[in-house]
Subunit: 290 residues, 6 copies
């Protein structure tokens, strides 16, 4: 059962309203990594959890996130205020201004309605805790970016409060996962296939125009993993040289390029005629520049 006390968890005060910053803040109200997403992800995991101590944890943090939703909502409302009657402010987010009268609503900064598709709830506690650790990391980085885009001291402090709490939660979820003492990389109960599980497939190879190349590192060797190479490791994909925008560089089609299979069905007469016409037009237009 929930109870609401009217006192906000954090006392929000801002200087000058900044409607465009208010719009940015909506990311943390109705956005993919925002407070409602956190509240719902943890609370619903909590509803389903049959491990009473960690259910308590999930409900503790899930409930705190609802309080954060209220805090960030209060902050946003202060910034959105000019949208109620200033045309220029309203242009920053017409959905908020026209349909919502300048108040907060469950949209992100680009007006997308909040959706439960943002949530990660599997009903496997150890998996859900990993999803929560990642979710807190994402929320932290989003708050950090918001702090970087405002000069308003009151806003910065409120965001610092909310950002700090994400780290607290990340630590708590990590501690809860550690306390389950599962073997590393042990998810669920079915064991992965030996040998196969140690093979890292090197599916991206070659060197890009920007100097990016193929690397080995601890993620594909030396941690029990070994890289499996492609037979095509020397390959550079399609013969793409022509498409770098340097005029006159089109390579001729290699003489031995016939595919293995040979389609021998009908060709479509109209198509052949159309091609003739297209060729004529192409020739006419061959000198046209973009």
């Amino acid at each position: 059962m929930y109870h609401h006390v009217k006192k906000l968890m954090y006392t929000v005060n801002i200087g000058e309203p900044d409607p465009r910053f208010g719009r940015m803040l909506l990311e943390q109200f109705g956005g993919a990594n925002g407070e409602l997403a956190a509240a719902m992800q943890y609370s619903i995991q909590g509803f389903n959890c049959e491990d009473a101590p960690r259910k308590d944890l999930l409900m503790d943090i899930g409930t705190e996130e609802l309080s954060h939703l209220e805090v960030v909502g209060a902050l946003i409302r202060m910034h959105l205020k000019p949208m109620k009657n200033e045309r220029e402010a309203a242009e920053a987010d017409p959905l908020v201004a026209i349909a919502g009268g300048g108040g907060v609503a469950l949209f992100d900064s680009m007006g997308n309605a909040w959706t439960a598709d943002y949530l990660k709830v599997t009903g496997d506690l150890a998996v859900d805790l990993r999803s929560n650790i990642a979710a807190e990391a994402r929320a932290k980085i989003v708050y950090e970016r918001l702090i970087a885009f405002t000069e308003d001291q009151g806003s910065k402090e409120a965001l610092q409060f909310l950002m700090t709490r994400e780290i607290t939660h990340m630590r708590a979820f990590t501690a809860a996962l550690e306390s389950m003492e599962k073997a590393p990389f042990s998810i669920g109960i079915i064991e992965p296939t030996p040998v196969l599980v140690d093979q890292f497939f090197n599916a991206s190879t070659g060197e890009s125009q920007y100097g990016e190349t193929d690397f080995s590192g601890p993620w594909n060797q030396g941690n029990g993993l070994t890289a499996v190479q492609s037979e095509i490791k020397g390959g550079q994909g399609l013969d793409v040289t022509p498409y770098t925008p340097k005029p006159g560089s089109q390579k001729p089609v290699p003489a031995d390029s016939t595919p293995v299979g040979q389609y021998t069905g009908p060709v479509g007469k109209k198509q052949a005629a159309l091609h003739e016409r297209a060729k004529i037009e192409a020739e006419k237009n061959a000198t046209v520049e973009v």
Copy 2:
């Protein structure tokens, strides 16, 4: 301006209600290729159209599709009727039964709410007509499949009526496009780049386990198009032989498989330790069967 006359465009009568078939029919009410999608696609193209004769065409067909929406709605309602109070019928589509009281609503057969994401409206008339030709072809095939899944004569006849109209519309849109007398493959006003436009990139090669192979045909040669081959045309991608489910077939990793770049940063001590532990567990489990 729209006017509604109460007479349905087609007099619907069915035999026995078949709620599971009713659910299937929702594809053509609130589904991606259904009557509302058609009505909206053509009508909104029509609202935007500045070519008065073809605007008339778009409005004619857009309006007819609204009448079809009503007809298919009447047909569906007859089939859904048992959902109002029979538990088993309600199980076929609980959203319709519980939230909608057994009536039609703008959902498809899997309960997805209709969305304007289904529509293709570019504001370029010749392009829009192509989208419409394709849309009518899709609607036709969907009606055909519905006809194949019912034995009810009244339903079959109603669907035959609706299906026939799609062909009429397909012919009309094709005639309208032809009457614009645009050069073939001429879209908009910027010409494609010569030579490049004639090259077909052979980006999928090799032979599959199921005998599929690389083909040439009129779509990549002989219509002004020539195939450009990949340097990796002999390649078979990753050395995947091991992963066919035949025990004992794992190939050794080739000796020369080191990638070009060598990452020389830190490795993460914890990770190395975890690996040790993982290796021990893997050995323990090496005999475990799924």
Copy 3:
């Protein structure tokens, strides 16, 4: 600030789990008229509300709905339990069974993720209260239908509890709206245009195949409203007699049917040829039955 107490607002107990009913119940967990929708609609209206007494009302009911979400979640979990390991139960809702491990999640009975598109939040208090009155009426009827589809006494009683609360809330919202003492039909501050506001447009006319006809009633006369008739009131739309599925009844096209405008552009030669071919095929197929 929110606080959660572990005691459920209502003690849920069921007899035999019924997974297919559990799926139906999801309507009230993650569905369009369900408890999260209610909780969010009222709470977010509350966050925005500057009328302190009615803000208190919105927060009271918004918070209670969160407690209902928890109660209905507990009820659903009991019914979904067999989805964890029984294949037939899992078929009733694979998304819940496979992705969610048989727990509750923010989906409706057809697996649609909850979306804030369900909410109605305008920031105008008198308008929002009207939306809430309607929302409570919808939630009531949905609970009623759920009650009708189960024989489980514990489920029926839990639903009766939740259903009853919707009526309480409907009364409270109505009382709050009445206490604002706004003139009837006075929304916002701009007055509607006199005379025009009293005209009811009779945009649907005629008589259907099922005996439906054009009516007058207190909604288009006698409450200050007068009906405006269409000039086409005698019309029956397109001459549709042929499309009732009675063979041989196609009416000839009227002789005077030429439209006003006459398109005189090109016709498309290919199209004419195609028609010839289509006509031949049509004749060949004229005897084909569906």
Copy 4:
């Protein structure tokens, strides 16, 4: 069956195109409370309605809303026109400009595709009429806000026309509901539980930092309703004083704060080590300001 006459229901004329206002207007074309939403909500309720007189009402208004869709579409197109070829105008709504060629489409002012999730269709006539009354109130307030954000006289007049019609419809739906002569707060057929239905739960209490407090009013007493208080009515939730952004105010953790249950499982050694490290870092950083 529907028929379209080319004459618009209202003759739209504007002065200078205002693309940013055009974008705002999309709320009433493809937005949640816009004309398509109204047209579809009433028409589909009408398709399902078995009360012939009120079905006529639903079809009348549903059809009129389609005509409004056309009118508001014409208005928007005039304002969007510069998006076709002016870069700055195109920036106001790139989806309209780039994908749609500057025409109208079924998006709202933030580019969200129209979705049937906006609709409220329950199949219970008395409930649906309440949803419609609320929908008309919302549409009215949105038009009012649009009027307030433009200086263009032609636009203002067109919007005034459309806004006026919403009030007409609101009156008609109210008259239709009243004429059903249902007992007040009587929804469906199952009675709510006596006594419980009269209890208003006071789930939000205390006093906020902004002076908001707990209220009684006609919505929780005096209309047959009595308030039920929480045992925690004196509570202020979490001891949040520290989090107001005043330095040095952190309260010590109360000595008696141990929870009831004591988790006695493993703690996770890595976690303990990590904490040590985190503590050291935190000390290092304790003087860092945001």
Copy 5:
């Protein structure tokens, strides 16, 4: 099996980053007609295709579109770069800037998440090819519009490359469809109903305030199609003259406007009283101007 080579198919270079143009370009990354939509539509059709030669075609082009996704992604990233730390740039697309750190993501230019609702996959090859022809036409026109909105030469050239490829694909899909040698307008296997299939319903008639009128053309006569007229062809819909914004022009309601059916149920006393009050208010306000 897929393989990635690090070399981009096209070497992208731009001059000055233009974040607002970068946002526009997202249309072709995560938008409805963009490269992911193309890649997925063709590849998934390919997965399902049982015609090996044309399956090869679908996989060739589907794979090339993945390479285009990478190219357009590289182009966009260059333009979005300033969003990482410049507030004004970030305002152009806060979702990209705040949630995505200024990188590309699967959103369109208005921040809509990419959805498979954009795809057209029916499993009927001849139908799918038509959908693909239309899809390529749409992609072409979108690239053309993007080219028109930038002055950056490197961007223009990259877009010209991508645009050109769409025409190549359109030709290939057309050739493949032609090579199937299906009769024109022959979709699936069920024949349309003779005679009915030749009737074009003239469902939109009359003349608009802007001079638009009813047309005949090759799409409704002369290609085997004949127009079927509405009985209401002389009608102009509702008697709408009053609603052109010229004061004083309201026509009186015609004397013979009574509908056929006469509702004789209760009227609702409260409603009558409310009307009285409304009438008084309306009179008071009759002189109010918008």
Copy 6:
């Protein structure tokens, strides 16, 4: 640049097609934790990544997931085959059967179209790696559940292959994160607020009807975290005893329950009258049972 080789990464063979299991498998094709989601999440993170070695990692795994999409697609197609022409099979997923002709498409097991809302892409590498670790854990558990719901050996082996790869990827992403050698819980660059970051808020307290209670554990004490208690820790929320479904147990409203604020505005006369009527009806109905 991408290249496709026709050989599947894993040779799929099944026994008897099982369309209902095929529908379940769609979770891993077009579902929230499925192969397209994995492919897109990693590839798009890779497009954005400026750390060349780990970009290589992201592209390697992102590309492998595309190959998995193809494998799981092949598996599903074999199971869906009967949907093409068997009515009962088609009922298992009408969207696949009717709209898709029995082929795979980008829907999950409940027909939801794949959406980029499933993806977690922040552009901060260390955060993205955490999201990927969690994503692999989720994918693993979903494959495990699918294995448990089939008896078909070929399907089990294919799923075992795919499941194993998720663990490989989880190890690789973990190794990559570890190799970045970031301080624990260090996300981004702004430090959290000292002291506050160590406080765990105990926002869920009390004891439930099912014996759940308040716990301490390593997540709220002993890892540098200390629990902050609520002043309301003894509270049990609303006085809910009456709502357990035991007749006659309604508690009287406490005498001292008057809220602090007293609303003194108008009450709404109609409302008072309605209440009188409601009270009479409630008395009449007091004996009605559900």
